[in-house]
Symmetry: C2
Amino acid sequence: MDQELTILKDYLKQKGLRLTPQRESILKAFIENEGHLEIEELFDRAKAIDSSIGIATVYRTINLLTECGLARENSLPNGKKFYERLFRQGHHDHLVCNNCGKIVEFEHPLIEQFQKDVALKHDFILQNHQMALYGICSDCKS
Amino acid sequence: MDQELTILKDYLKQKGLRLTPQRESILKAFIENEGHLEIEELFDRAKAIDSSIGIATVYRTINLLTECGLARENSLPNGKKFYERLFRQGHHDHLVCNNCGKIVEFEHPLIEQFQKDVALKHDFILQNHQMALYGICSDCKS
DNA sequence: ATTATTATTGATATTCATTATCAATAAAGG
DNA sequence: CCTTTATTGATAATGAATATCAATAATAAT
Ligand SMILES: [Mn+2]
Ligand SMILES: [Mn+2]
Ligand SMILES: [Zn+2]
Ligand SMILES: [Zn+2]
């Protein structure tokens, strides 16, 4: 939490923004969780720390956390977004169950390398990528 | 166009739905175009054929085309969707310019194979996947 | 400390893409 | 032609995310 807080502080200072109790509470709620959080879940967890926090502040703060590299934003085909920790956590992509919504993480360095090759070949400066495999998980098969 | 129309007809019949002039016009507008279409663009092209067509019918019809395998739906991080021909067109994924929005297609059979491997390893029945590489295109670099 | 400046907050209005509703219309089969 | 029922276009509704705004609080200056 200390390192993450420092990263946020530095980012805020650099942008001329301020560290507030709300932002600190939302960061804490976010960091405490290891999984994949939708906004409403993060809102609930933040309210458990400070019940007066508003949903608008949660949206604003998760955007700050994404900008400063502490959070990673993922979009689902249904138009919702979910967030997860990015700091000190290996890069990975996701398998998503089309039936129950379960999210499983995987890493594949070779795919990552090929993505870089493709970008290079097409003269793109690769900034980020987004890959998700959709299907039916083992639980839902049965 | 003939083969596509047959596919749509068969799908509609199988579902107990009807072929209408509107659906035929929207299919035509969709097929005529080789690129990546957002709904509003498809709407404009369909109106050029039949000016009385409503936007709701365009939404309804592109969903039908997606269901019967003639169209492929892609989501952008901004929440919009774009569509492209799927029938008799090789599978590919996309490079997207974060600056000008340009979309470049690429194929990488090895990545596709690895995706299948990953799904198998995690006991998922792979149904579809979604991969996009985001960055700065060669034009925008300069 | 006191004050001045300006970012922040929570509530709420707004936006924007997409879907739902509904009365009028028109396929399709007999 | 008739009957049944899917379809249409206009428009209302939805839902996630952002914009607005007056009140509040953090920071810097006095
Ligand atoms: Mn993850
Ligand atoms: Mn394409
Ligand atoms: Zn499942
Ligand atoms: Zn570009």
